[in-house]
């Protein structure tokens, strides 16, 4: 009589190596950690500096100080008036916008992917074992708060309008009439890319049309959804590009404001 053997135990293949990948899977996390650390260090230093954020002659205001609502803000830089008294920059002058811009980027679906992989190593790369013994993802506090991304998006739309207003001011010459220089063009490029990044957001894609069940019954929203989807496919590139343009814009204005360089004027 044939002996029927026991069914094999239901266990996974026992492979001790963390990963058997032979490519440079560690490269992307290292690059992300390096670039984000550089950017965050620069931004932190700048928002607490309290100097060289406005060029009165050409009306250049760095986005890191917009809207400038502290009593310390130099004349002409406060679009929305002074909300807090003149105190040293323990509180960033543009705290009212920075907290939402930071929240928007922190909860952004692309940045989440980037920092979960690079900083938290969860996972560091695909098919590479993560170092954590337990994982609950975004099911609990504080990471369940990532679901608030959409509300940051709403506020950032308003902030983008403010940034656009700042750019319009930068197209005024010293006499108050139309005029522009290299700084105006850098600010313009920055704000266009900021709009592209903001509108390419996954929440924006959901709001414009993604939440619908019937595209065919909402042709205008469907059209808008296709355009946002096109931008959305470039969300990662826009996320990085705007970090670069924000830094470049601030750096240029800082150099002009401090007198280190002169603005290259094209007209007036």
């Amino acid at each position: 009589m044939t002996q029927v053997s026991d069914a094999p135990a239901r266990t996974r293949a026992q492979i001790s190596e963390r990963t058997l990948r032979k490519d440079r899977w560690w490269q992307a996390p290292v690059v992300v950690v390096t670039l984000l650390t550089i950017w965050l260090t620069y931004a932190t230093v700048r928002v607490f500096t309290g100097h060289w954020y406005y060029v009165p002659k050409y009306h250049y205001l760095t986005p890191f100080y917009s809207p400038c609502v502290s009593g310390e803000c130099v004349p002409g830089s406060s679009t929305l008036g002074h909300w807090i008294p003149a105190i040293p920059p323990i509180i960033p002058y543009a705290f009212v916008s920075l907290v939402f811009v930071l929240g928007f980027r922190l909860t952004c679906y692309y940045y989440r992917r980037a920092y979960y992989r690079a900083f938290w190593q969860s996972p560091p790369s695909c098919a590479v074992r993560e170092p954590h013994a337990k994982y609950t993802g975004e099911t609990r506090f504080p990471l369940i708060m990532q679901n608030l991304h959409r509300y940051f998006f709403y506020v950032v739309i308003v902030i983008s309008v403010l940034n656009t207003w700042d750019v319009a001011q930068a197209f005024r010459g010293p006499d108050g009439n139309f005029g522009f220089g290299l700084g105006s063009l850098i600010m313009l490029a920055n704000v266009v890319l900021l709009w592209c990044y903001t509108l390419s957001c996954h929440s924006c894609r959901h709001i414009t049309g993604g939440r619908l069940k019937h595209f065919s019954r909402h042709p205008i929203r469907y059209w808008a959804w296709t355009k946002v989807s096109w931008l959305n496919a470039r969300h990662m590139q826009l996320a990085w590009t705007t970090l670069g343009t924000l830094m470049l814009t601030d750096l240029y204005i800082m150099l002009v404001a401090s007198g280190a360089i002169s603005d290259l004027r094209f007209f007036n």
Binding site: L20, P123, R129, E130, Y135, H202, G210, R211, K213, F215
Partner: protein
């Protein structure tokens, strides 16, 4: 021109196993599955591997090649340096039956737990009409060949087997998303997506998208849109306030998950 490739193939069963060295002939134009078949025919007649169509459409020959979840039939040998040793292992997330064959029944159990298509009962078979723009979204997800490479690579269950119960994995969250977006599906699946299928476990690191041999944008087109729908339903303060003052009553029709409610 052919050459002799050095292979390390994981051999064993659920109890134990190890990487075994082989030297196998490789000819121009071959894929990894061809080489494994030659290994089986010439040196290791008892090598177990699952395959069927050899065309990237049946999803049977899922394995890990040099640590990367791939289809054996869609991985060209010409993409590797002939001097390198190729390491071939079974999918790590699933229990191994023998050699490269794994038990993927976890996925079938998850598939069965998803409440099926729930149309308006007043619409009779043959009366459904859908426009192409409505069909497109679901059609992308229907390209899935159920190779389960996405399930295999998802760290939520790959690195944390304890999450197999609460988390359905990207393939089945994509199925939930497909039904949730379907114009003729009447069920509200947002609660069960979060509570029963573990959408919150997904931290959108996109590995499922990276390994998908059908290039389905699982994360961008299924998981994130589903997360947004859940966020609007469960975490929207205005919706919550509206439901409290009865201005926006909760939508009826959340289907039950078999065995859970």
């Amino acid at each position: 021109m052919g050459y002799m490739a050095a292979l390390k193939v994981w051999r064993g069963d659920a109890g134990s196993g190890a990487l075994t060295d082989y030297k196998v002939e490789v000819n121009e134009g071959e894929v990894v599955l061809d080489v494994l078949h030659r290994l089986q025919a010439t040196q290791a007649g008892d090598l177990a591997l699952r395959w069927n169509c050899k065309a990237g459409k049946c999803g049977s020959c899922s394995m890990e090649i040099n640590g990367r979840p791939r289809l054996g039939c869609m991985t060209r040998m010409s993409t590797f340096d002939p001097a390198d040793t190729l390491t071939i292992t079974p999918m790590r997330t699933f229990p191994v039956i023998r050699d490269l064959v794994t038990d993927v029944s976890f996925n079938y159990a998850k598939a069965r737990s998803i409440p099926s298509f729930t149309p308006d009962p007043s619409i009779k078979p043959g009366e459904f009409r859908m426009q192409q723009e409505d069909v497109n979204r679901s059609q992308e997800f229907r390209k899935c060949i159920e190779c389960y490479l996405c399930q295999n690579t998802c760290h939520v269950i790959r690195d944390h087997a304890e999450n197999e119960a609460p988390f359905a994995g990207p393939r089945f969250l994509m199925r939930v998303a497909e039904l949730e977006m379907h114009p003729c599906d009447e069920a509200d699946r947002r609660d069960i997506a979060q509570d029963d299928f573990g959408l919150g476990y997904c931290n959108i690191t996109k590995c499922c998208t990276e390994v998908c041999p059908e290039h389905i944008k699982i994360t961008d087109n299924a998981l994130i849109p589903l997360k947004e729908r859940v966020a609007g339903h469960k975490y929207d303060p205005l919706v919550w306030l509206g439901s409290k003052i009865s201005r926006r009553p909760a939508k009826a029709g959340t289907p039950a998950v078999p065995g859970k409610r």
